[in-house]
C-alpha cells in the first residue's frame, strides 16, 4: 500500500490563482502565465504515489518546483488545489492540530542548509522534535542519543553545530529527523551543500541506514548522478509538472521526452564505456575438479547466491545457484553438470554498458563477459548503474 498518495496537487504563487490555473489547464506555459497574471506556477497538478520503504527521488532543474512540491507534502506551503494523503489521511484538508500531529509523529524533514539551531548543542538539536512533542527530558535524551549514534556522531553530543564540519552538521540534521522515528523522511537537497566526496559518503551512509530503517524517503535533488545512486524510483520535474516517474533504468532507457533526454544526455558517456571497463574478476568453480560442495563453500565464503562454472581452459560452462548446490549436496549428487544452468546472459568485452544495462535489467545473475567462449569477467548490476551515474570513477576502479 502506498504511504503517500498525491493527487492533482498544485501550487500557484500570487493573487490570481484561479485565473492562472485556468490558463495552465488551457496549456499556457509557466512564462506566459507569469506575464499574463503575475502568478508563478510552483507545482502543476502533480500526481504520484510513494510506496512504503522506498526512496523516491524528485529531480529537476533549479526552479522546477522541487522544494515547493516537498513542502506541499508536509504543508509548509498551502496547496492551491489537490490532495496529499498520508496513510489514508488527507493532509491538505486537515485542521492545525491534526496537521501538527502528523508533522510530529509521521514526517520529518532534512534541510539543504541544515537548519540547525545554533544556540543548541548537537544533542539538544537532535532532541528538538521530541521536545516539541512534550516528551520527558530523560526519554528524549535517550532517543536523541540513539539517533546520534546511528548517524555516527557518538561523542559530539555536547558540541555546538558551528564546531562541526558541513557533513557532520547534516548528520545532526538527519539525527534530528530520525529521533522522532517518523514513517516518512523528506529530504530537500539534503546533500547539495556538501562537497563531492563528503556527499558520496553521505549517500552511501543513507543507503546503509535505509537497509536498517526501511523508511519511506522523499529525496529532492537536481543531480542525476545522485538520483541514480540512491533512488528506487525517480520523478522528473519540469516547470512545476512531473514529466516522468520510473525506476532509474526506465528513466535512462526510455526518456519520456526531450527534456528528460537532455537531462540524461549527460550520462551518455555510458556509450563509450564497455564491459571491459566495468567487469570484475569472477569467482569460478572448475567443473572438472569440483562438485556442488566446493561450489557451495565458495559461494558462502564470498557471499554469493550463484557462481559461474568453467572448465580447465576457462571455457564458460554455465552457472549454479546456491539453492541448487545445497540441494545437490543434500541429495548426494557429486556432478555439477546435473545442476548446471546454461541459460546465462553473456556479452563480449566490447559490449557497451548501455546494452549491458538492457540485458542485466531482468537477469538473476551477473552478466558473463567472454572472449572466444572463455570467461574473462563478470559485470554486476551495481557497477552498471554506478558507471552510468559516474563514468570516470568506475573506469579507474575496473582497470585496477
Amino acid at each position: 500500500m502506498p504511504v503517500i498518495k498525491v493527487n492533482n496537487l498544485s501550487k500557484i504563487f500570487g493573487k490570481k490563482t484561479k485565473e492562472a490555473q485556468a490558463l495552465l489547464d488551457e496549456g499556457y506555459s509557466k512564462d506566459e502565465i507569469l506575464e499574463k497574471t503575475g502568478c508563478t506556477v510552483g507545482v502543476n497538478r502533480a500526481t504520484f504515489e510513494v510506496e512504503e520503504g522506498e526512496i523516491f527521488v524528485i529531480m529537476g532543474l533549479s526552479g522546477s518546483g522541487k522544494s515547493t512540491l516537498v513542502r506541499l507534502l508536509n504543508r509548509l506551503i498551502e496547496p492551491t488545489e489537490g490532495d496529499v494523503e498520508i496513510e489514508g489521511e488527507n493532509l491538505a484538508k486537515m485542521g492545525g492540530e491534526d496537521l501538527r500531529k502528523i508533522r510530529r509523529e509521521k514526517m520529518s524533514m532534512v534541510f539543504q542548509r541544515f537548519a540547525l539551531f545554533p544556540f543548541r548543542t548537537v544533542l539538544e538539536n537532535a532532541e528538538f522534535g521530541l521536545e516539541i512533542q512534550g516528551i520527558e527530558k530523560e526519554e528524549r535524551s535517550k532517543k536523541a542519543n540513539t539517533s546520534l549514534d546511528l548517524v555516527g556522531l557518538k561523542g559530539y553530543a555536547n558540541q555546538y553545530p558551528s564546531q562541526l564540519s558541513g557533513g557532520m552538521q547534516q548528520r545532526v540534521g538527519l539525527a534530528r529527523a530520525l529521533a522522532n522515528d517518523p514513517e516518512v523522511l523528506l529530504m530537500d537537497e539534503a546533500f547539495s551543500a556538501l562537497d563531492p566526496l563528503i556527499r558520496k559518503d553521505m549517500q552511501d551512509e543513507l543507503l546503509d541506514l535505509q537497509v536498517k530503517m526501511r523508511k519511506t524517503i522523499i529525496f529532492i535533488t537536481h543531480d542525476l548522478d545522485e538520483a541514480l545512486r540512491i533512488g528506487d524510483r525517480i520523478a522528473l520535474m519540469k516547470d512545476g509538472s512531473i514529466v516522468q516517474v520510473g525506476s532509474p533504468e526506465e528513466i535512462l532507457i526510455n526518456p519520456a521526452n526531450d527534456y528528460v533526454e537532455r537531462f540524461v544526455e549527460d550520462v551518455d558517456r555510458s556509450k563509450v564505456l564497455t564491459a571491459e571497463n566495468i567487469m570484475k574478476r569472477p569467482e569460478t568453480v572448475d567443473i572438472e575438479k569440483h562438485g556442488p560442495r566446493v561450489a557451495l563453500e565458495r559461494m558462502r565464503e564470498q557471499g554469493l547466491s550463484s557462481i559461474y562454472i568453467i572448465d580447465r581452459s576457462r571455457n564458460l560452462k554455465g552457472y549454479v545457484t546456491a539453492d541448487e548446490a545445497k540441494r545437490a549436496k543434500d541429495d548426494g549428487i557429486g556432478d555439477l553438470n546435473e545442476i548446471l544452468n546454461k541459460d546465462m546472459p553473456t556479452v563480449d568485452l566490447s559490449t557497451s554498458i548501455h546494452e549491458i544495462f538492457n540485458i542485466i535489467h531482468d537477469s538473476p545473475v551477473p552478466v558473463a563477459v567472454t572472449e572466444d567462449g572463455k570467461l574473462r569477467g563478470i559485470v554486476v548490476r551495481g557497477a552498471v548503474i554506478a558507471a552510468l551515474a559516474d563514468g570516470n570513477g568506475v573506469n579507474e576502479d575496473a582497470t585496477r
Binding site: 513542502r71 510530529r104 509523529e105 520529518s108 524533514m109 537548519a115 545554533p118 516539541i132 522522532n180
Partner: protein, 282 residues
Amino acid sequence: MKMLLDNIPEIPMADWINYGVGWITDTFSFFFDPVKDGFGAVLDTSAEYLSIVPPIIIIILMALVAFFISGKKIALPIFAIIGLIFIQNQGLWEELMYTFTLVLYASLISVIVGIPLGILMSKSNLAENIIKPVLDFMQTMPAFVYLIPAVAFFGIGMVPGVFASFIFATPPVVRFTNLGIRQVSDELVEASEAFGATGNQKLFKVELPMAKKTIMAGVNQTVMLSLSMVVIASMIGAPGLGREVLSALQRADAGPGFVAGLGIVILAIIIDRVTQNLNKDK
C-alpha cells in the same frame, strides 16, 4: 495664491489638543490618580531604601556585578569603583540613587511593554504598519512637548518622569525586537514548523533565542535613552543628578553643573557596558 492661503481660517489645533489633554486628564483620572500615588510611593520608597544602604556596599555589589558580567575582566569593575567613589566624594550619592531608581523603573517598564509589542509587530504586518508610524512620532517629537501632558496626567515628580522616559525610550526595544524576529532565517522557522511546533513553541524555542542578541541591543539603547531622559525629566520635578544639572544651569554655575553631568556620564558608562555584556556569549 497668497490671498487664497490667507483665506483659510487658522485651524485651532492647539486648542483642540488642550481640550483633548484636559478631557483625558479628567476622564482617566480614576487611572492616573492611583498610578500617581501608588507608583510614586513605590519609586520614592525604592530610592529611599537605596539611599539608606551604605554606599560602600552598593559600590562593592556594582563592582562584583561588573566583574562577572564582563567575563571576569577587571577594567570595568575598576572603573565602576573609582567612578562611584568619585560621585560619593562629590556629595551626589543620594541624587545618584534617585537617578538610578528612575532609570531602572523607566527602562523596566519600557522593556516589559516594548518586547511584547515588538513580537506582535513581527507577527502581523498590519500591526507593523500601525505601530511603526507611532514609534516614529514618539521618537521625533521633542521630549519637552510631552512633558506638559505628563504633568497634567501625573502631577510633578518621578512618575511623570517615568512616563516621559517611557515614551522617549520604548521605541528602540520595540523596533529591535521586531527586526530580530523577522531576521530569523526562513529555514529555521520552517524547521520548527516541520517538526510540528505550535506558534508559542516556535516563538520561545526558536525565534526569541535567535533574536536575543538583536533584542538586547535594543534593550541597551532603551536604557541609555531613558538615562538621557532623566536630565530632562528634572524639569518636571524628578529628583536626581539631572536636577543638580538643571539648578546649576539656572544659577549659571558651571562647576557643580559639570560635576553632576560627569556623574551622569559615569552612570551611563557603567550601565551601558553592563547591558552590552549581557549580550555577549559567555
